[in-house]
């Protein structure tokens, strides 16, 4: 089971990232939980300075940008092997 975290304080782009990630999870059929992290201290502790950011299994994959669906899928599939 993958743990996916969306870091962001509720801005439009953060919601966009959350939606895109949920879609990707559904399309791939990966078992994963998607959690939104809105607490600023937790976000800072990830070393993220610009939101939105995507964290997969504790690793920050991208920050400050909403990635394309294909990129999200790539990250989701990476560690499946």
């Amino acid at each position: 089971m993958k743990k996916i975290k969306i870091l962001g304080m509720g801005c439009t782009r953060c919601n966009q990232l959350a939606d895109r990630t949920r879609e990707a999870v559904k399309e791939l059929g990966v078992e994963a939980e998607v959690i939104k992290v809105q607490d600023i201290k937790t976000i800072t502790n990830y070393g993220v300075l610009v939101t939105p950011a995507l964290v997969v299994d504790g690793v920050v994959k991208i920050a400050g940008k909403v990635p394309k669906s294909e990129e999200i899928k790539k990250w989701l599939e990476e560690e499946r092997k």
Binding site: M9, C11, D39, I40, K41, V48, L49, V50, I62, A63
Partner: protein, 342 residues
């Protein structure tokens, strides 16, 4: 009661669309998109590290809002990061104060709608006073700062973006279009366009151009609905609040008017750019230009929701010191501006 209110909102709305005020924002949107795609955020953020020279940290903090704060969702996390893991309370608060006030869209829009003096006052006021507030904060809390463990500021984002000539000429031509078009210098605007297209052809790939256009469109989609809502609300304010009230509380350039404006600005939440049409409505109803600047300076920097976050990051003592400083500084800047420019 309700009908004239909606009527007021609608009138402002239509007036706005027909007045081509938004036209000035078009080049600014393109510049904002370009900044988002081609300027490396990492190259700016490295000046906020714990090891960075203090003078550099402060100066970069005071102006980097133009590059980093096009969207309000970047300001608070970055502030928290600089404070907890980077250069500390001084540069962090300097960035927090100036960041939201000096993004390219806000500057262009303020200058166009409220007048060049207020636009420039907003930029200069935000830059100067952010450094002063930062230095005061760093001085007041210098003891606590020393005890804080210095952690390296992990950027978390890759270096990237374009460098050198390609970037310089590209941005110069964009700014050229913005400035010359607003002055109706069509020949110079045309030359800027030619330079822009040549630069794009020579140095930029199709992919990059596409990314730029997408980012630009992203900003348009993000900001326009809020802006139109702001215009609508500004129209309703005009109908709802009697002019005498505005003149009494916010008119002239007294200490009271400036203070009320800055406290009001500090408490109110303004979505990106909405402060501008609202200040415009107040100005039309008799608000002084000094208090207008006070509101513009305190407004985007603070709001009730952002205060909660700031308290969470720095603790109540530092947060309220900061809030107090912002209100005082905004009031003082407003009074000075009102004194010289009215």
């Amino acid at each position: 009661m309700l009908t004239p209110l909606i009527q007021g909102g609608m009138d402002a709305f239509l007036d706005y669309l027909s007045a081509h005020v938004l036209a000035c924002l078009v080049p600014a949107f393109f510049i904002a998109g370009a900044i988002g795609v081609f300027v490396s955020q990492a190259s700016v953020i490295k000046y906020f590290g714990a090891e960075a020279k203090r003078i550099l940290s402060y100066s970069v903090a005071s102006v980097s809002g133009t590059v980093l704060a096009v969207c309000s969702c970047t300001v608070l996390p970055l502030f928290s990061g600089i404070y907890q893991r980077g250069a500390g309370v001084g540069p962090a608060t300097a960035f927090l104060y100036s960041g939201p006030a000096i993004n390219i869209l806000a500057i262009v829009y303020s200058a166009r709608l409220l007048g060049l003096d207020l636009g420039a006052g907003r930029v200069v006021g935000a830059i100067l006073f952010s450094i002063i507030i930062g230095l005061i904060m760093a001085f007041l809390f210098r003891k606590e700062e020393k005890e804080k463990v210095k952690q390296a500021l992990d950027l978390g984002i890759p270096e990237g973006g374009k460098r050198g000539y390609a970037l310089l000429i590209y941005f110069a031509s964009l700014i050229g279009i913005l400035v010359f078009a607003s002055q109706k210098q069509w020949i110079l605007t045309g030359i800027s366009f030619i330079v822009l297209f040549s630069a794009l052809r020579v140095w930029y790939s199709k992919e990059e151009i596409k990314e730029w256009l997408l980012a630009t469109w992203g900003f348009v989609k993000l900001i326009t609905p809020w802006l139109l809502l702001g215009v609508f609300v500004a129209g309703m304010i005009k109908t709802l609040i009697p002019e005498t009230l505005i003149q009494q509380w916010l008119g002239g350039n007294s200490l009271q008017s400036n203070l009320i404006a800055s406290v009001f600005g500090a408490l109110m939440y303004f979505a990106t750019l909405t402060e501008v049409p609202i200040v415009k409505a107040f100005l039309d109803m008799g608000m002084g230009r000094g208090p207008a600047l006070a509101l513009l300076l305190a407004g985007p920097a603070l709001s009730l929701p952002s205060m909660i976050v700031i308290v969470r990051v720095m603790g109540a003592k530092k947060a309220f010191t900061y809030i107090g400083l912002v209100v005082i500084m905004a009031t003082a800047t407003g009074m000075m501006f009102g004194h010289f420019f009215t």
